[in-house]
Subunit: 316 residues, 2 copies
């Protein structure tokens, strides 16, 4: 079902152990963010066939799929996972979802995990439908409809524990992970996530407690890592030690490095439970590396991803 | 662009005025929720051609599209809008998104508004991509890719004001609305939305203040209604008066009536700014009305929607 094959006939390992094994095998904690903009794709390779004429959505979907495959092929040796931003595919309609499915397949072919950056959150019955969409399958009279086969998803916890439960249950059934948003890296995150509660804590600290509690039953016996992770904006590094205190065995997904202004060196507390405790995501700084250097896109992306891989690996 | 045509060459009215005009014209505040489950669709009409053989996702997508069109045709006279739950389409992959686009088109053909129940929320750059997906269009070398053309969307406010701003900007450009989640109707909503803040308020009250503030610049001159709405679970009716106090000109989207246990009579405070101030959503109680009565699905759905329409209209 994915690039992190179990390799035995034993029960499939849980998400925390699968993640830790993938990080160790690839010697990388880097997650390649894929946010394709059809107006800023890599040029097609010289000699490639031109686009097949057709409606704009189909053209854009095929171009995005080819771009994502090229980026994955260039960068795969330096990364452990890809993180497609679902909004960037969804905006191309059905052809965009086709491109997303093809991108998942390309990542799995290269042995990479797929973290679907979905940030879904809904009432339980609808959360169960999102779980089918992203992690499981949907029963139907003509046969089960397979979902996206992601190895992990991001989720929005605002609607509370029962809104996350169907996602976590589906993740446990497939050896996947759910990364809940605890504190994001945008300025507006201060509006609600930093709200001070009556007990003196911040809202994000309460969310962190919820994420920790939900993951306790899903700690991997090999790695000790939970299968419920946390999205933790790296632009607020002063929070990281407190985050780790509240969520000692939780994998952290750390956006905000590179283009958003975070720095790798500030991330050390993330790695307390092991290297897989801190996944560093980078999108524009890798995919757009050629814009600064003038080099050809694939080589520039590979070099930047490898630089980031080594810098992070040496820290942890 | 939708069923609520402006009818003049003047600038397109804002979302609040469009909503109020649609409610007045159709004499309905009822929103038909569409949560299609491919294993529980209405039977195809007698004499309809059987399904074209093919992969399960395509079969299910076509069946869901036909079901939604049949439900819309049955119920349209009694409702003002449809609210497709995006999870239920997304779980069928690209064919599901095709079915969603066809469902939007069917609703518009019948003069209905479309509220995309997306509950999206993301950092600003990704929120802008969701805005393109649901409300706008995406520039691409092969021509602009049109989005879903929804008349309104639901959104998750956890990431703060800057995460909602791109959605609201796109809504204002197209005469649409954004309904932010203020207090949902699931039990888990108490976990975070009801959290007590240091200033004595609940988190949902702070969210309500944010929604009110974001909508002040978008009040329609004709109706006084804001183009930023609020999703307000009707299973907590004791909160409604306080909600209205905090958001005096905000349209409320009220799920939880019917299958989830809310009652129409408790909703009166919602209608203080006019009938369009309270939209009552119902899904299973309409689409599944035949299961209790044994009648044929279309007639049972139409009768239940009309019963709900009249009961609500008389209240307001």
């Amino acid at each position: 079902m994915s690039g992190a094959g179990a390799g035995t006939s034993a029960p499939r390992p849980g998400g925390g152990d699968r993640l830790a094994a993938a990080v160790a095998r690839r010697e990388s904690q880097i997650v390649l963010g894929l946010d394709p903009d059809p107006a800023r794709l890599w040029p097609a390779p010289a000699g490639a066939p031109g686009p097949t004429p057709g409606p704009p959505a189909g053209l854009a979907g095929r171009a995005v799929s080819a771009h994502c495959r090229a980026v994955i092929e260039a960068v795969a040796p330096a990364v452990v996972a890809v993180k497609p931003q679902l909004a960037c595919f969804e905006r191309l309609g059905a052809p965009g979802w086709q491109a997303l499915a093809e991108t998942v397949a390309a990542a799995h072919e290269h042995g990479l995990l797929v973290i679907a950056d979905a940030k879904r959150g809904d009432v339980p019955v609808s959360a169960a439908a999102y779980a089918q969409a992203l992690l499981g399958a949907t029963p139907a009279p003509g046969g089960a409809v397979e979902g996206l086969r992601a190895d992990a998803i991001t989720a929005n916890p605002l609607l509370g524990e029962d809104s996350l439960a169907p996602l976590i249950a589906a993740a446990r059934a497939t050896g996947a992970l759910v990364f809940g948003l605890v504190r994001t890296s945008n300025p507006g995150a201060a509006d609600l996530m930093d709200a001070e509660l009556a007990d003196g804590r911040r809202l994000w600290e309460r969310i962190a407690g919820l994420i920790d509690a939900l993951g306790r039953d899903g700690r991997g016996p090999a790695s000790g890592l939970s299968d419920v992770g946390a999205v933790v904006g790296a632009t607020a590094p002063e929070h990281l030690a407190r985050m780790r205190e509240l969520m000692p065995r939780t994998p952290f997904l750390l956006p905000g490095v590179g283009a958003q202004g975070g720095s790798v060196e500030a991330l050390a507390p993330a790695f307390a439970p092991g290297r897989a405790g801190g996944l560093v995501t980078a999108s524009r700084s890798i995919v757009g590396a050629h814009r600064a250097s003038g080099a050809e896109p694939a080589g520039a992306a590979r070099a930047e991803a490898e630089r980031l891989r080594r810098a992070t690996w040496e820290l942890a």
